[in-house]
Structures are given as structure tokens and as C-alpha cells.
């Protein structure tokens, strides 16, 4: 599909206005919304993700592409609701209680959105209960938690415990990130995954939600 290829390549260049125009054109031509998303927008983001991983492009290019992705997504969303198309999935993210460092978490949010996920960003200083509550009400498949201060890391453990208490440990996967976090710590507290950077986080969320 030539038009969808153009959406993909324009997205890769970070041209948000053009991506919006082309997406509108695709909608007008009655191309199914799911098709536009999968073979246009997400196809483009997949290329970007791969190039980023290989150091061929840098973070700003990824973010520009993500911005272009939103421009297309904004037009597709009403159709998804109308056509009841399932989205990539919902992810609840936040910086855990006691911690105000949200740069890494914000980056993960931008990149997840860029990969087509619905992101519910709870902001910073988020208590464990709020993560679990949001996952329940939003029907999210993943909770992403970030911390920079070692002192705030017990909150992550508490989230895992609360999910178990609510019988949600299978329905809601957990992923953590941030300077003091590690693969070992994730294993120790029973978190499903540890992402060492935003790119890795997206890769892991895709795995956790079976989108990869």
C-alpha cells in the first residue's frame, strides 16, 4: 500500500503535519484504521526503534517521530472508539512515592506513546495504592514504575504485593526502571521486567503485552 508506506517514511522523518495530512487522506480513502496504524504509523516507528538501537539515529529523532505518530494517532482514535478496535494496550506509569525525579519516566512515556500504547501517566510521588487503583480502573495491562532514590524503591515492592492481594498479578504485568533499579532487584521483588533505558522499556512492554 503506497500511501501507508508514505505515512511510514514521513513519520520516520518526524514530519508531524504531513503525517496528519496523509493519515487523513488514508481515512478518506476508507483504508481501515487498524491498517493505517499497523502498516503506516507503527511500521514507521518500528524502523525508528531499530535505527535507534543500532545508534544510527539519536533520541531527538525518535521523539520527533513519536510526535508525528501522535499526530496520526489523534485522527485515528475516534475511529478506534467507533469501530471498537483494541489499542496496543494501556500502560500506567509513574515515579514512585517519595521521588520527584520524573525525567526518565517522562521519556519512557513519550516512547511508549510513540510505539502506539495508551499511556496513563500518574506523574511523580505516586503511592503504591494509586498505581494499582489506576491499573484496575483503566484496565491497564502493565504498570511501569520509576525511581532515582534508593530510599523510595520499597514502593515498587509494595505494588507487587498489592497486585497479588487483589489477584491481579497475572492480568497486570510490572516493569521498573531508574538508576538504582536492576535486573537482580526486579527478580528479588517479583517485578516482571527491568528496562535499562527508555528504548529497552518499550521493547519489554511489547513483550509483556504479547505485542512483539
Amino acid at each position: 500500500m503506497e500511501l501507508l508506506d508514505r505515512i511510514s517514511s514521513t513519520l520516520q522523518k518526524g514530519e508531524d503535519e504531513q503525517v496528519a495530512e496523509l493519515t487523513k487522506q488514508a481515512i478518506d480513502e476508507n483504508i481501515p484504521a487498524q491498517d493505517i496504524l499497523d502498516n503506516g504509523l507503527i511500521a514507521g516507528m518500528n524502523v525508528i526503534g531499530e535505527q535507534f538501537r543500532k545508534h544510527e539515529i539519536f533520541l531527538p529523532e525518535v521523539l520527533l517521530a513519536a510526535k508525528a505518530m501522535y499526530a496520526g494517532m489523534d485522527l485515528l482514535k475516534p475511529l478506534f472508539i467507533k469501530e471498537k478496535v483494541p489499542t496496543q494496550g494501556k500502560v500506567v506509569i509513574g515515579t514512585v512515592h517519595g521521588d520527584l525525579h520524573d525525567l526518565g519516566k517522562n521519556l519512557v512515556g513519550i516512547m511508549l506513546k510513540g510505539a502506539g500504547f495508551d499511556v496513563i501517566d500518574l506523574g511523580k510521588d505516586v503511592p503504591a495504592e494509586k498505581f494499582v487503583e489506576a491499573a484496575k480502573t483503566e484496565d491497564a495491562g502493565v504498570i511501569g514504575m520509576s525511581a532515582l532514590l534508593t530510599t523510595t524503591m520499597p514502593v515498587m515492592k509494595k505494588v507487587v504485593e498489592l497486585l497479588k492481594e487483589n489477584g491481579l498479578e497475572d492480568a497486570v504485568k510490572t516493569i521498573i526502571g531508574g538508576a538504582p533499579a536492576s535486573e537482580d532487584f526486579a527478580d528479588e521483588i517479583g517485578v516482571n521486567a527491568y528496562g535499562f533505558d527508555a528504548g529497552k522499556a518499550v521493547e519489554l512492554v511489547k513483550e509483556l503485552t504479547g505485542k512483539k
Binding site: L59, K67, L107, F196, D197
Partner: protein, 485 residues
């Protein structure tokens, strides 16, 4: 503002020059070349043919300095300008003429072969921060008499950058000059667009060999740039003090300048050198010693005071492996030299007192060169005033990763090293194999060799170079050249 480092006051420079003049006029220089001695005698120098000795005059030194050109340019194999030897411009070239190569697989030294040289040339063609190739090591699988010209031959076939080289004999000059004529097409074209620099090395203390003297003369005749590589050794073949060593270096280099400029006024030259302190504990000449680097920087100041472009053997290491010592000595040297504004820096790739080249080190050093080239660009405001709009945008957007200002200046302001420099967080580093520096460098060596695209040198030139090299080899009893893959 370009950051700058200086070691000498103007008064000290003048005092050093006065001493060097006095040495050349009163003590003179031992010079083993009859025709050069005759030329010097014709210009009023006091020559003793029997002792092969010359005492210069102030007039002749000043005359030579007056005719010396303050700058020149260098061009690649296609005639594109690559070097501007003027002001404080900095260009890197690999350390030259190593006898050994460090084998990555065995971690041992061995004699380099033709294929090693070809691999080196292929890699160097793709290293962005090393502007010229040097004939970096000596292939051991050809007759010794052609080992100098053969390096240049391989360099011209496989790498498009200009060449820093030199001859080991008087005879080799002919074919090495013919290689350059084959590339440029005529003597006039070669003079207009120099392709190579020849290193000419006085012997400390205060001697010029027959070969070096003749090389200076031959290069001057064809307008081939030379770099004088005087090598005083502080505390052994030179005074122990850094100032005393600089005085000796000045005298030795000035004598070379006189030979060049009397032969052909205006012939291009670099005021260069490879001095070192002498380590009286190990009887070695440490290129990585901080004092060696200080002498190099001081020599540059003398050269610049005389209005000449400069060179030094700096940004190299005495370590035997690609270890922390290799990095620190090379890095400190490159940084100091660039801050001093030395125009041609010979060193990258070199280990073990200029005797061993490492392809892996070359990859690492390319990054050191890239960093120092960024360093000397200094800090310049780029649409930073007024700054309020940037901060308003930051507070509103929460980041400036994709702001217009960031996108415009990111790649100019920040130097992005290749993958040999580890900047991943630990988890990513582990996921990508937890490789140490040398293995990451070796991955790059392999990648660059496999991604090499052949030099775009024309078939006519290629054939002419092969013809010249084969004839030269035959002259010394070697009927065939090693296979080139």
C-alpha cells in the same frame, strides 16, 4: 575563543633562538653530504670538507628563514584539499614506520605483512578524525631495500588520504617521487597540490646524515613538503633541562631549514620533531612522558615564532598493550598538542616507543582525535542570548530534546564518539556483551575492513603505480610482489 596553552615567554623564545644561532655559528654541524656542504660554502658558510663539518652564519640562517613559507596545504589522491597548515589548525596522522604490529588475537608483537598494511590503509581511509595516512609500519615480506617505497605504494592504492612518509635511502626517493607524479600527472601539478610530506631526521647531537641531507634537497627541488624530525634526548644526547633540549632542537631544525631554503627558496616545510626525555632508569625514550610533551609544545612555540607551520610526534604511548597507560598517554599528548596548536600531530595507533602499531589502538585514538578537535573549537555562544526563551520552553515542554535550538546545534555542540567509547549504562553494556575496550575496537577493525569501498583512484594511475613498484622490486632482485587481497 580558541583555548590555548603556552609554555614559553617571548623573552625565553628570543633567548633560546639566540643560543641556537650561536651553536650553529660557533660549534656548527657535522654534515655527511658533499654537495650540500658545497652549497653551504657557496653561501658563505665555513665548511671543512675533510671533517664533513659546517659552521653557519647568521646571515644565511636569516636568509633561509626569510624565504620560508608560513603555510601550505595538502591534497588527497583526487586533488581535494585536506590540510591547511596555517595558524593553529590541527591535523592528526598515525605514528609512522613501526617495525611491529600488535596482533589482537595473540596479544603479541609480530612483523607486519602486506595484508596487515592493506588492512591498515582500508581502516584509515574511513577514520574521520585522522586527516592523513602515514606509512605507519614496515611490511616484512618484501626486500628491505624497497620496504620504504612499498609502504607508500600500498598507501596510494588503498587509501585516498595524503601520505606522511619518508625514505630510508637516497635511492628510494626517485620511485617515491615518481609515484606522486603518477598520481598528479606532472611536476607542476604536484607542486601546486602536494600529496605527501617526507620526514627528514637530523641525528642528535647536531649531525646530518648523507641520506637526510639529500632527502631535504630532493624534496625541496620538487616542492615536496618536508617535516624536520630532530630527536634530542634530554639528559643523554641533549641537556637534561627542557630549555636546553629546546635550544638543541632549535639548532638542529634551523640547520635543516637552511638546507631546504637554500636549495629552493619557499619550499614547503613543517617545523617538527620527535624529542624525548631519556629515562635513566630503563635507558628508554618515553614518548608518553609529560616532559616530552612539554618539549614538543615548546618547540611548536619556537616554530610559530619563526612564522612556520609545525609538527610533533605526540599523542602516542610507550605501553605494550592497549591498556589504560596507552589511553592516558595518548590522550594527554593529543590534548596538549591541540591546545598548543601544533599543526601536524604524528602519533595515533603507536605503542612501545614508536616501534609498534595497533589497528585497535588506531580506532581508539581516532576518538581521542575527534574529542581534541572538538576541544579546540572552544565554547562559542550559539543563539544563547537572550536565554529566557529557551528556559521558558524548557519549563513548558519539560525537556528540550526536540526544541529547534537543540536540533540546530546538537551535532555541532556535542561530539558523538563511535561505539568503541562506552557510554551505555551498565545493564545495556552487559546486554551488548560486556565487551572491554580492545574487543570493542577489534569489532570496529573488522567492520571497517568489511565495509571498505575501494579507492576511486583511476585504473591508469593504479596500473602506473604497479608498474613503477614492480620495476623497483626487480631492481633489488624481487621478481614478484606479495599477493594483495
Amino acid at each position: 575563543m580558541r583555548p590555548k596553552v603556552k609554555f614559553l615567554t617571548e623573552q625565553l623564545i628570543m633567548d633560546i633562538l639566540a643560543e641556537a644561532f650561536e651553536i650553529l655559528c660557533k660549534l656548527g654541524v657535522e654534515l655527511h653530504n658533499k654537495s650540500v656542504l658545497e652549497m653551504l660554502s657557496d653561501h658563505g658558510c665555513n665548511v671543512d670538507m675533510g671533517k664533513m663539518h659546517v659552521n653557519f652564519t647568521e646571515e644565511v640562517i636569516n636568509k633561509a628563514l626569510k624565504s620560508a613559507e608560513g603555510e601550505f596545504k595538502l591534497y588527497d589522491i583526487h586533488g581535494n584539499q585536506t590540510h591547511d597548515f596555517s595558524g593553529d589548525n590541527v591535523h592528526f596522522t598515525p605514528g609512522s614506520a613501526a617495525l611491529n604490529i600488535l596482533d589482537h588475537e595473540t596479544k603479541k608483537l609480530r612483523k607486519p605483512l602486506t595484508q596487515d598494511y592493506i588492512d591498515y590503509a582500508k581502516i584509515l581511509n574511513q577514520l574521520p578524525y585522522i586527516a592523513s595516512q602515514s606509512t605507519a609500519f614496515i611490511p616484512s615480506d618484501v626486500a628491505a631495500q624497497i620496504s620504504d617505497s612499498y609502504r607508500m605504494f600500498l598507501s596510494l592504492l588503498y587509501c585516498e588520504k595524503p601520505v606522511v612518509t619518508g625514505t630510508f635511502t637516497i635511492e628510494s626517493f626517485e620511485v617515491m617521487k615518481d609515484f606522486q607524479l603518477a598520481v598528479r600527472g606532472s611536476e607542476k601539478a604536484l607542486k601546486e597540490k602536494p600529496l605527501a610530506i617526507f620526514s627528514c631526521c637530523p641525528t642528535s647531537p647536531l649531525k646530518f646524515s648523507d641520506v637526510t641531507s639529500q632527502n631535504v634537497v630532493d624534496c625541496a627541488k620538487y616542492g615536496i613538503p618536508v617535516e624536520f624530525i630532530s630527536m634530542p634526548l634530554s639528559g643523554f644526547m641533549a641537556p637534561v633541562t627542557l630549555t636546553g633540549t629546546v635550544i638543541q632542537h632549535t639548532a638542529e631544525t634551523l640547520s635543516g631549514i637552511v638546507i631546504s631554503q637554500l636549495t629552493n627558496p619557499g619550499a614547503p616545510m613543517l617545523y617538527g620533531g620527535s624529542p624525548a626525555i631519556f629515562d635513566v632508569r630503563y635507558e628508554t625514550t618515553p614518548m608518553g612522558a609529560i616532559e616530552t610533551m612539554m618539549i614538543d609544545c615548546a618547540n611548536n612555540e619556537i616554530g610559530k615564532y619563526l612564522g612556520l607551520p609545525t609538527q610533533a610526534y605526540i599523542s602516542l604511548s610507550d605501553s605494550k598493550q592497549l591498556d589504560a597507560q596507552a589511553g592516558l598517554e595518548t590522550g594527554i599528548g593529543a590534548t596538549l598538542a591541540a591546545l598548543a596548536g601544533i599543526n601536524n600531530l604524528s602519533g595515533p595507533g603507536m605503542l612501545d616507543f614508536e616501534s609498534c602499531q595497533s589497528l585497535e589502538k588506531l580506532i581508539v585514538d581516532n576518538e581521542i582525535c575527534g574529542m581534541t578537535l572538538r576541544l579546540v573549537q572552544g565554547i562559542e555562544p550559539k543563539e544563547d542570548f537572550p536565554s529566557l526563551p529557551h528556559f521558558e520552553e524548557l519549563l513548558q515542554e519539560q525537556h528540550l530534546l526536540i526544541s529547534k535550538h537543540s536540533r540546530k546545534y546538537l551535532r555541532d555542540e556535542h561530539y558523538f564518539p563511535g561505539t568503541v567509547i562506552d557510554r551505555a549504562n551498565r545493564a545495556r553494556w552487559q546486554e551488548e556483551g560486556a565487551l572491554f575496550l580492545e574487543d570493542r575496537a577489534n569489532n570496529e577493525v573488522k567492520r571497517l575492513i568489511s565495509e571498505y569501498t575501494p579507492s576511486e583512484i583511476s585504473d591508469d594511475i593504479r596500473n602506473e603505480l604497479v608498474k613503477l613498484m614492480e620495476a623497483e622490486a626487480k631492481r633489488y632482485g624481487q621478481d614478484t610482489l606479495p599477493e594483495r587481497l
